[in-house]
């Protein structure tokens, strides 16, 4: 043993000499030293040795002193300091609003030393003697400085004041939302006839107090429309409305309510509300290129939510599963999908603090209506939520790791085919093998340099935090591993680990006092019994007292490096025979002595900082060097992309599980992970607990605490959960909640408009077994809900109401609301008869280039990185953040969508076509259907009522107004162009030097229109290349030739009249690879054909053709001009592009401008193309059939009318 000590001593001496060349004082240590919490922990370790060391005396608190403070000092603090160092803001973590705060100080240590003004940082700062000069803008006056100096020298008296804690307790006791939920008595009212259920009693009682009466009941059409839109987000059919209006028997309405609640559309519509709460998105947000951006499990969670509404899953259970399905269900249960609530947030480029912050936010605001996020950096300004409580919740998620799980099939997925599974498993195996190797290598690499990792703890500020991404090579220390060791050491400190008691004892000494205090610290360490201090450490430091903390770190580093070397030696003997796994390797004792084995455990144990946990890439990517990280992500992507294929079965979810080893959550001062403070236990928020005063009752127990958190949130005694949910439901029915801030029930929230009603509903929810559907029933059957709009009040009542309750807080009428974007779009598909009611499944693109998928809008893929601007303009919930409620703004971009987006126009076309065909059938004649009949039917279908005489008149006047020639389009020149492909005959292929103007004579032997339009391009089909037509494509800018000379792309211009034209042409091929393309302009004169593209399919050109020009364009721009070509009406100019010789990178740009040079035919010029100018780019259009006729235009108007968009 003595020999070993001698070696270690030598090592230390060697290390110390090394240290002289390293710059090694650690800021993080000075912080630790100044933290009273840390100091107290130090006492815990070393007994009473630290007491009596306080370097200052307590000042006397005489009245005189306090008077001096109040008159001369406090005013200075208030006027000059507290804006930045007060309750609201704490620059440098410093507060200047209590004596304790000044003693505690900020990032730079204590601000004052009572009795020693000269040594107080506050004084050097206000005297502007050091780096820190305060206040920053303007120095204090001399007399002010003098007052502060005197005050400190005299002991820094500060009167006792009610502490923050008292204040906090008051708030917890007094704020309405933190009080237990009661079941208030149902009030008496003077008009009991109006009261259908208790909701009405509460509402009417309130109205009576302000002498307001409710609005008359809405008419039956309004009621049934309201029920449909509220419960399903879709309109009723005209027939349903008629039947309902004709059936006033009691019970008709209840039957409808039950039918609607049982419909899948109800679950979809209300499920979407929860998806807003859950900040749902199908993608992770911005990710580095190495990572697949789509979540593999988003739609599985979405479908789970919808299904939960469909089966009226009790709300408490709904919440529990979303927080802790891993504890509540068996592996493989479909309910495991519920945890998407936590795992579908933005990935924040993998920065764990932000991912956890997002989870805290979605849980606290989404489930409890508390804004806990503020407390990340400082105690909540308004609500009794402390920073410590934030980090208590942080601990819950810090100790929850993500896991990929297979679940049972959810029903609508395809059968699992053996081939699919096989490939999937193959990819998984490839990843698992690479990960295993990477973990082993990374762990070994860390052990090899364990001395450096220990030393790094003394200069931890040199290792950037997550979010400061470095390209790391295998020779670098990995910053996240440095911090992993840091966390390991914190855990060791908390557990009183005897191996590290010396480390922590020395670490608690402020660096500048090390020499002064080291001996004293050792003195107390020396007395510790062996179970409190590891014998190796005891003997080593007895022999080699450290001169600085760097010495301590070096000694520890060398000791463990030595442990590693010895272990390797032993191991190489042991593993010569068998190739053991890493786990076995770790478990197998290498040393005979248990004390030695205890040291080896630091490097090889399952909890060792060197052991890379077996977790998903999300959480461990930062533990590898950059190349390894990229390689692993690529393999992970192989798996993800396989699962993401449309045909894959839906059986994967990402859930959470409790980590095997517990990490201690430390407060980050000012939210800065570099400034770690006290360790806090996992605990429920006091404000959301009936046990605000009882820490033990709020403790979240074992593991991550997530299960206990779920239980404490989803239980009937939680003061917030039921209230918050009831309010969300109410808000959806009435447009506004009883509390107008649905996710903030804190002190800054307005009082509920009907506090007792809120409580009554909350207790009703709980008593009904947390049945959301019972709540709907109660609400929609109340008289309150059945009221008509404000307009049905008599004018004088309206006036009175407007005067005393302009915002309708007392609910004296039912306020109409604007359809959400989803309801708007879904309604259009419903009325046009196109809606595809497929329930669940993978998400699709909302606005693909070709056509619109007729599924409900909630099945559109939401990429948080690219939310279509149409959605933003319609106040869609921002998927980046938990969305308490949607705005309801009106901006012209919404109107542009309604007027111009093809989606709306196509629904109008479809609807009119359907009505016409039905009516034609019923008329049994081939003649056209009279416009009036179609118009009336349109009105009936779209607004579910018959038009009034005036409305009919207006519609007829519109329909009968002369239609502008359908061929007259917005761009008059567009009609001259058609888009096709065809065969070529090339002759005279002469020299094709890059610049030669005419290298070929090109004949167009066939021309066919390209069949498919994507919205921006003509091509063979929705995919490019097309199975038949290959790569051929024409866009406004240019296009791509087909694969061979029989499929050249041909943009055809047909002369509308006789004239002389000039041509300007500019083509460009922008790639070096390949051999470019051949661009030719062919003028066909005298061919017999009309300009209608559809009729010219397959026409071979018999008439004379002239190649005006032909050129090979390869990686260059080619310009050509002609200023006088006579053309006759019907003649064509073909702008032909073929692949030249090789099909390779043949995308081209070609802009053609044709101008009429002479006057031409004056009559023709007026009707179609007054400008006499054709521009291949500007005139580019899709199929002509997109134009709406009058009836279709009418349908569009009705679809976007206020009556269709605002639900009374």
């Amino acid at each position: 043993m003595a020999g070993m000590n001698a070696i270690l001593l030598l090592l230390v001496i060697f290390a110390s000499s090394l240290l002289c060349s390293r710059s090694g004082t650690a800021q993080s240590l000075s912080e630790k030293g100044s933290d009273p919490l840390e100091a107290s922990r130090f006492h815990w370790f070393v007994g009473r040795a630290g007491e009596g060391q306080t370097p200052f005396r307590r000042g006397s608190q005489s009245l005189e002193e306090i008077d001096f403070f109040e008159r001369h000092v406090r005013p200075i603090f208030v006027a000059h300091c507290q804006e930045c160092h007060g309750a609201e803001t704490q620059w440098g973590s410093l507060r200047v609003d209590s004596r304790a705060a000044l003693l505690r100080g900020g990032d730079h240590g204590p601000a004052i030393i009572p009795g020693e003004a000269g040594g107080s940082r506050l004084v050097t700062a206000i005297r502007r003697q050091g780096d820190l000069q305060m206040p920053p803008e303007e120095a204090l006056r001399e007399d002010q400085i003098e007052a502060i100096v005197q005050w400190i020298d005299r002991g820094a008296a500060w009167p006792e004041a009610p502490s923050q804690n008292n204040n906090r307790a008051d708030l917890l006791r007094s704020h309405w939302a933190f009080q237990p939920i009661t079941r208030p008595a149902i009030p008496d009212v003077t008009e009991p006839l109006w009261v259908r259920n208790p909701i009405d009693a509460f509402v009417l009682a309130r109205l009576e107090r302000v002498s307001l009466s409710p609005a008359p009941e809405a008419d039956r059409r309004t009621l049934i429309r309201r029920l449909f839109f509220d419960l399903t987000g879709m309109p009723p059919s005209a027939q349903a409305v008629e039947a309902f209006v004709a059936d006033p028997a009691p019970g008709a309405e209840e039957r409808w309510v039950e039918r609607l609640l049982a419909s899948p559309e109800y679950a979809q519509h209300w499920g979407r509300l929860w998806l807003d709460v859950a900040r749902y998105s199908d993608t992770k947000g911005y990710v580095y290129g190495r990572e697949e951006k789509s979540f593999i499990h988003a739609h599985v969670y979405r479908d789970w939510v919808i299904d939960a509404f469909a089966r009226d899953l009790p709300y408490d259970q709904f919440l529990r599963l979303q927080l802790a399905a891993d504890h509540l269900t068996e592996p493989g249960s479909p309910d495991r999908a519920a945890m998407g609530y936590l795992t579908l947030g933005r990935r924040f480029l993998g920065v764990s603090h932000d991912i956890i912050d997002d989870r805290i936010d979605v849980v606290s605001r989404g489930m409890m209506g508390l804004t806990v996020g503020c407390a990340r950096c400082h105690d909540h300004k308004y609500d009794p939520i402390s920073t410590a409580e934030y980090y208590s919740l942080y601990g819950v998620f810090l100790n929850s790791a993500e896991q990929l799980e297979r679940i049972e099939q959810t029903g609508h997925a395809a059968d699992i085919s053996g081939a699919w599974n096989e490939e999937h498993e193959k990819r998984q195996r490839a990843f698992a093998a690479a990960l295993q190797e990477a973990r082993t290598v990374a762990a070994q690499r860390m052990r090899e340099r364990i001395d450096d990792y220990f030393f790094a703890q003394t200069e931890i500020e040199k290792y950037p935090q997550e979010g400061f991404d470095q390209i790391l090579s295998t020779s670098d220390l990995i910053p996240n591993l440095v911090r992993r060791l840091q966390a390991y050491l914190v855990r060791a400190r908390e557990q009183g680990d005897r191996r590290f008691v010396v480390w922590h004892a020395y670490a608690s000494i402020p660096p500048d006092q090390f020499t002064l205090q080291a001996a004293r610290v050792w003195e107390s360490l020396r007395q510790l019994p062996e179970e409190r201090i590891h014998p190796r450490m005891a003997s080593f430091f007895a022999a080699a007292p450290p001169a600085s903390f760097a010495d301590v770190a070096t000694a520890y580093g060398n000791l463990f490096a030595e442990v590693h070397r010895r272990s390797q030696e032993q191991q190489s003997v042991a593993t010569a025979q068998e190739n053991s796994s890493e786990e076995a390797y770790a478990a197998e004792p290498a040393f005979r002595s248990s004390a030695d084995e205890e040291l080896r455990d630091v490097l090889y144990g399952t909890e060792s900082a060197c052991t890379i946990p077996n977790e998903l890439m999300y959480t461990i990517e930062g533990l590898f060097d950059s190349d390894t990280c990229n390689k692993l992500w690529n393999l992970q992507n192989e798996i993800d992309r396989w699962v993401l294929q449309p045909a894959s079965p839906d059986k994967f979810v990402i859930s959470l599980r409790d980590r095997d080893q517990e990490y201690h959550s430390q407060i980050f001062r000012r939210g800065n992970p570099a400034l770690r403070g006290a360790v806090v236990p996992q605990q429920m928020l006091a404000a959301a607990s009936p046990h605000a005063d009882d820490d033990a009752a709020r403790a979240l127990g074992v593991g991550s605490g997530r299960l206990a958190l779920a239980d404490q949130i989803a239980r009937s005694t939680n003061p917030l959960t039921a209230r918050v949910w009831v309010n969300r439901i109410w808000k959806q029915h009435f447009g506004e909640g009883l509390v107008r801030t649905p996710s903030d029930f804190g002190l800054r929230a307005e009082e509920p408009s009907h506090r007792e009603l809120l409580d009554w509903l909350a207790s009703y929810l709980i008593d009904s077994g947390w049945s959301t559907q019972s709540l709907h029933r109660l609400i929609v059957q109340s008289s309150t809900y059945r009221q008509s709009g404000r307009g049905r009040h008599a004018p004088e009542v309206r006036q009175h109401g407007d005067a005393i309750d302009p915002e309708n807080r007392w609910l004296w009428y039912k306020r109409p609301y604007r359809l959400s974007f989803e309801a708007l779009r879904d309604s259009m598909l419903v009325v046009s008869g196109e809606l595809d009611r497929q329930y669940g499944g993978r998400a699709g693109n909302l606005f693909p280039a070709d056509g619109e998928p007729p599924r409900r809008t909630l099945y559109a893929a939401i990429d948080r990185q690219f939310v279509p601007s149409v959605l933003r303009m319609f106040d869609y919930a921002n998927p980046d953040l938990h969305a308490p409620q949607r705005s309801e703004t009106t901006v012209p971009q919404q109107s542009l969508f309604a007027l111009n987006h093809p989606f709306v126009a196509r629904r109008a076309q479809h609807l009119v076509a359907e009505i016409q065909s039905q009516q034609r059938e019923s008329l049994r004649e081939d003649q056209g259907v009279p416009g009036l009949r179609v118009a009336e039917e349109l009105f009936r279908r779209l607004l579910q009522r018959s038009p009034t005489a005036e409305e009919t008149e207006a519609m007829i006047a519109f329909v009968e107004a002369p239609t502008v020639d359908v061929s007259t389009v917005i761009r008059p020149g567009a009609a001259a162009w058609s888009y096709g492909y065809g065969g070529l005959e090339i002759s005279q292929t002469g020299n094709d030097q890059a610049d030669s103007a005419v290298s070929s004579r090109v004949m167009v032997t066939s021309w066919n229109p390209i069949p498919h339009f994507t919205g921006s391009a003509w091509q063979g089909g929705s995919a490019l290349p097309d199975g038949v037509l290959g790569w051929v494509q024409l866009t406004d800018q240019g296009g791509h030739p087909g694969n061979d000379l029989q499929h050249a792309s041909i943009r055809r211009w047909t002369a509308p009249r006789d004239m002389i034209i000039e041509i300007q042409s500019r083509a460009e091929h922008e790639h070096e690879v390949g051999d470019g393309v051949r661009c030719s302009i062919v003028h066909s004169s005298g061919a017999e054909h009309s300009s209608g593209a559809e009729h010219s399919a397959g026409d071979g050109r018999s008439g004379p053709q002239e190649t005006l020009v032909s050129a090979r364009v390869h990686n260059r721009r080619w310009e050509w001009k002609h200023d006088g070509i006579p053309v006759k009406a019907g003649e064509t100019l073909d702008f032909v592009v073929d692949i030249f010789e090789v099909l390779n990178t043949d995308q081209y740009l070609w802009h053609v401008l044709i101008r009429q040079r002479d006057g031409g035919d004056p009559n023709a010029a007026i009707s179609s193309d007054p400008t006499g100018q054709w521009d291949s780019q500007l005139d580019f259009v899709g199929p002509q059939s997109q134009r709406l006729d009058r009836l279709e235009q009418l349908a569009q108007v009705l679809m976007i009318s206020n009556e269709a968009i605002f639900i009374d």
Binding site: G467, D744, R748, M955
Partner: protein, 474 residues
């Protein structure tokens, strides 16, 4: 001019006219109780985009921001460091941690000269811009948080490195509205596609979606591609006029809720949309510009983009961001000499032309021009994974330059400084929050009063930071 509403009722009426349902609680409640939560003054007009008065008289009415995405090198553009030449090839005494490894001091391959009466030193690659040196205030002591593009773009554009927050333009729209409701008030142009971080750069965050920036790819020339849904593919303007007349008539016949301002504002928004179709077309039509002007800006995508920008500024667009191009063009880890020279050549002429043009039109004094990227570059040479010099520079967030000119800016000034090699801001270190506070100040907004309540907090663009740089204000 600020119109204050005399009573809560009138104020409420105004609020309703804003077209914000009470569901739009953020802005709505804010307007109801301006003093308590951030002072957005009410001006005339209606709608969330209507022009609003600033807190105090503004120096600038609009901002145009040249965003050199990727991170232009300050030591090669506006922050000359002759010592780099002296120590060329030698390791620096302090090399700060950046994204990648860097080696020895790497002098600028470009010549710097003094320009104007102020003698401001500017690199040859911006020699045309340099003709306006006396109008320019360079802030040479900018610093950001980390040496990575994504967080730094977010910091520069939205005031927070990581959390989703509204962009500067969205804040301006929220605070000031748009001067022309027929055009989007906040436009981001980027030739060829998105910069990295995509639309997050001009997000509305928790502000209403209407405040988000409108993205335009100026590589397209067709209006439909420039502004979404700006034209109908299925009805002519005259048909649409008839449709709108019918719509108005039917809306008035069926109005079940008398005096509901939301219904009114929706009717009005259709009229606005109708007008936008023609006005927007006009704004983007460069053929209306004289040949000489077009030539001055240059006939290439950056020239066109800048000229379109001027036409938009003229028409009341509040905040325009001109990105250099898709991806991160200025990110020259290697071969910085050729790359920076080429990139600068693409925008030097348009910037100079814009300043000249704005001056001639009397718009210069009311237009704030901002030039910069998300960070700067290291004064040391980047090393490849093989340890070889790449003749480029790594990211540097410790110190970099931006410059401003026009609206309220004192020209011919260099504010702050980096160390002798240009690694770190040492004199008057200026945070991105300070820059934002200054921009808002010039626009007449107090960055501490422009707040929005969200998730229990009153949020600001500058969070809890920010200090107006008065030294560069005229």
């Amino acid at each position: 001019m600020t119109q204050r509403f005399p009573s809560t009722t009138a104020r409420r009426t105004m609020l309703q006219q804003c077209g914000l349902g009470l569901g739009g609680l953020g802005l709505a409640s804010l307007l109801c109780d301006g003093r308590a939560q951030g002072d957005v003054a009410e001006g005339g007009g209606s709608g969330p985009l209507a022009a609003r008065s600033p807190h105090f008289p503004a120096r600038a009415k609009r901002i145009i921001h040249f965003f050199l995405n990727g991170g232009p090198s300050h030591v090669d553009t506006f922050d000359p460091k002759p010592l780099l030449t002296k120590y060329a090839g030698q390791p620096l005494s302090t090399t700060l941690t950046t994204e990648r490894k860097t080696g020895a001091a790497f002098p600028s391959p470009f010549k710097f000269r003094r320009y104007g009466e102020s003698g401001l030193e500017i690199s040859e690659i911006f020699s045309r811009t340099a003709q306006f040196a006396d109008d320019i205030a360079v802030v040479r002591s900018m610093h950001a948080a980390v040496p990575n593009h994504e967080p730094s773009l977010m910091l520069m554009n939205c005031g927070d490195s990581v959390q989703p927050r509204p962009s500067v333009g969205a804040w301006l729209m929220y605070g000031l509205g748009s001067e022309n409701e027929n055009l989007p008030g906040f436009i981001a142009m980027c030739p060829g596609g998105y910069p990295i971080k995509d639309a997050e750069n001009w997000q509305a965050g928790f502000l209403p979606g209407a405040y988000q920036g409108t993205f335009i790819d100026p590589q397209h020339r067709e209006l439909e591609r420039l502004i979404e849904n700006i034209r109908s593919g299925h009805a002519s303007l005259s048909d649409q006029r008839k449709q709108l007349d019918l719509l108005a008539r039917l809306n008035s016949l069926s109005a079940s809720s008398p005096e509901d301002p939301r219904l009114e504002s929706r009717i009005e928004s259709f009229e606005l949309a109708y007008r936008m179709q023609t006005e927007a077309a006009e704004a983007f039509d460069l053929s209306q510009e004289p040949q000489a002007i077009r030539e001055a800006y240059g006939d290439h995508v950056h020239g066109r983009q800048t000229l379109i920008a001027r036409r938009l500024l003229e028409r009341g667009v509040r905040y325009l961001q001109l990105w250099h191009g898709a991806g991160q063009p200025w990110d020259n880890h290697a071969q910085i000499e050729a790359n920076h020279r080429k990139l600068a050549a693409e925008i030097d002429q348009p910037i100079a032309a814009l300043i000249q043009d704005l001056k001639q039109r009397g718009m210069f004094d009311e237009t704030l021009i901002l030039w910069g990227g998300e960070f700067g570059r290291t004064p040391t040479v980047e090393l490849g994974s093989d340890g070889k010099e790449q003749l480029g520079r790594d990211h540097n967030h410790y110190g970099f330059s931006v410059w401003m000119a026009g609206g309220g800016i004192r020209g011919g000034v260099a504010y702050g400084a980096t160390d002798e090699f240009g690694f770190k801001a040492v004199e008057n270190p200026t945070s991105v929050h300070d820059l934002h506070a200054t921009m808002l100040y010039l626009m007449g907004l107090d960055h501490k009063r422009l707040t929005y309540r969200y998730a229990g907090r009153d949020f600001r663009l500058t969070d809890v930071h920010g200090r107006v740089i008065h030294d560069i204000i005229a």
